[in-house]
């Protein structure tokens, strides 16, 4: 008889079960921090033993192992402190409302008492099932630092009641932050954010959750086109649209349309609508800038964010010409991030190459990251060499 080959553990499947397992432990009365530790240990155990004998019901297996670990830890703790065991028996197995637990975990990990960086770390670990090391690597901090951040976060929320509904918008902000971090190192945070948002969308019926999921999918779809082989940034107008992921776009558009049909507009749906209009254009010149301006008007009404108004100036420059864009820009604060870059672009379109080159150089000095700085320096260099000849 041939020996069964050890099967590598499907990590994505494994991690998709994590919130459900954690939820069961917390429902059974486990303290959140201790439950989370126990689930992590059970995950490590699963990665070790599943390749040789995968369980028939992975979730039940994880619940059993995690609960045992929790009891062991509680008992050891209790013995050490000479206290009475409070948790003795495994409760009779019964139906556990999985999606409610998942939702509660999202609320807990994005609790307003947490700082954004703590909420992100806790979400990735307790809901995402990632190890502290993976999260530390993704955020380029030492593992010990990330471990401290996570345990402080767990302590902060340990007294929060598990069954009170939270605020979806705080959860969405955390997921948005994870997505925007992009990817550095082995862990793809954008893909992880999409997975977590998808899971949230399955747990709660909310148009803004759908809006954020659509927004992520539509942006993620462009990822292959966003950087050249040498690592430099490729602006939207110059991207090879054949590289866009049409499956992700189709899914994003479908999710967005369903959300918009419910007539409860929010900022993520409006941002996704802009992304969908870009996705819709087969070439940059076919972009429906008039509609994009309208969506930015909606967004400005929803958020009153100066960044939105900066983006609106760009869109207006495309829809009504660079002079209109510059007029809109003149109403904004020049200290806004990326203001100089937008001004440079609009002046170039308006034919003032000297001013544009100066502004690109200024924008490069103020760029928040190396990729943008290099891109803006190239733009300045391009205009200066055109003018020099």
């Amino acid at each position: 008889m041939p020996m069964p080959m050890p099967m590598p553990v499907d990590e994505v499947l494994l991690r998709s079960i994590v919130p459900g397992v954690l939820g069961v432990l917390v429902r059974r009365g486990a303290d959140f921090a201790a439950a989370e530790d126990a689930v992590q240990e059970a995950l490590i155990e699963a990665v070790r033993v599943w390749p040789d004998g995968p369980p028939r019901d992975p979730k039940a297996w994880l619940v059993t192992v995690a609960w045992r670990r929790f009891l062991d830890a509680t008992r050891a703790d209790a013995a050490r402190r000479r206290r009475e065991d409070v948790v003795e028996e495994v409760p009779a197995p019964g139906p556990v409302p999985g999606t409610d637990d998942t939702l509660q975990l999202y609320f807990l990990c994005a609790h307003p008492s947490l700082t954004p960086s703590s909420a992100v770390a806790l979400t990735l670990r307790a809901i995402g099932g990632l190890t502290t090391r993976q999260i530390a690597q993704a955020y380029l901090v030492p593992e010990a630092t990330m471990a401290q951040r996570i345990s402080r976060a767990k302590r902060t929320v340990s007294g929060v009641p598990f069954d009170r509904p939270g605020d979806v918008s705080t959860v969405l902000r955390v997921l948005y932050l994870v997505f925007n971090e992009g990817y550095s190192g082995d862990l793809d945070l954008a893909a992880e954010a999409i997975r977590l948002t998808r899971q949230l969308a399955a747990a709660i019926d909310h148009p803004e959750v759908a809006g954020l999921l659509a927004l992520m999918l539509l942006h993620h779809a462009r990822r292959a086109a966003r950087t050249a082989p040498d690592g430099s940034l490729v602006p939207l107008a110059e991207q090879d649209r054949a590289l866009w992921d049409t499956t992700a776009i189709a899914e994003g558009v479908r999710i967005l349309q369903a959300a918009l049909a419910r007539d409860r507009l929010g900022e993520y749906q409006a941002q996704a609508a802009v992304a969908a209009l870009h996705a819709d254009a087969t070439t940059a010149s076919e972009t429906d800038w008039v509609q994009i301006v309208e969506w930015y008007d909606e967004l400005a009404g929803l958020t009153d964010s100066p960044v939105v108004r900066l983006n609106r100036a760009v869109a207006l420059g495309e829809a009504d010409g660079p002079r209109a864009g510059l007029a809109a820009l003149a109403e904004l604060d020049g200290a806004l991030p990326r203001y100089a870059a937008v001004a440079a672009y609009l002046h170039e379109r308006d034919g003032d190459l000297e001013r544009a080159a100066q502004l690109y150089a200024e924008a490069a000095r103020k760029a928040p990251n190396l990729a943008e700085r290099d891109h803006l320096t190239r733009q300045a260099a391009r205009l200066n060499s055109v003018r020099g000849r």
Binding site: D230, G231, S232, A357, Y360, A361, A364, R365, K366, A367, P368, L370, R373, D374, T377, R378, A380, A381, R382, N384, S385
Partner: protein
């Protein structure tokens, strides 16, 4: 093994030989420069000598304590005359000679006209932990 910090300056270092601001290069020269820097770091990773490298924004400020119950005092952005660090790379190498060799390579990064910039880099040894065997 010894760790060294290689510091690159926006200003304050002695003037480079090929000293032309980057926005006066051609876009191809800019790309070639960036490629050279990336390749350099990748090569040191492969040889097991790279530790860390970061770039710093040119804007910054001085900050100091201003006494109990008062917010810190800030002074900035930095004055135009101030020495300004642009970024660093930390290497872990076998000898001072190797550190000098690598700093020389980094300084040879191409600039305007595709010619080496001959930029001055500051090379600083780390203070290490005391050795186990002291006598």
């Amino acid at each position: 093994m010894a760790k060294y910090l290689m510091l690159k300056h926006y200003r304050g270092a002695p003037e480079a030989v090929n000293d032309v601001p980057m926005d006066r290069w051609t876009p191809e020269e800019v790309s070639a420069h960036i490629q050279y820097m990336n390749d350099f770091a990748a090569r040191l990773e492969k040889s097991g000598e790279f530790v860390d490298g970061q770039a710093l924004a040119p804007e910054g400020a001085w900050v100091r304590y201003d006494g109990e119950g008062r917010p810190p005092v800030t002074d900035g952005p930095f004055a135009e005359t101030k020495d300004l660090i642009a970024g660093w790379m930390i290497i872990d190498v076998d000898s001072y000679e190797r550190a000098v060799e690598l700093a020389g390579e980094l300084s040879a990064a191409p600039g305007a006209g595709g010619k080496p910039i001959h930029e001055w880099l500051e090379l600083r040894p780390f203070l290490t932990a005391p050795p186990t065997i002291a006598e």
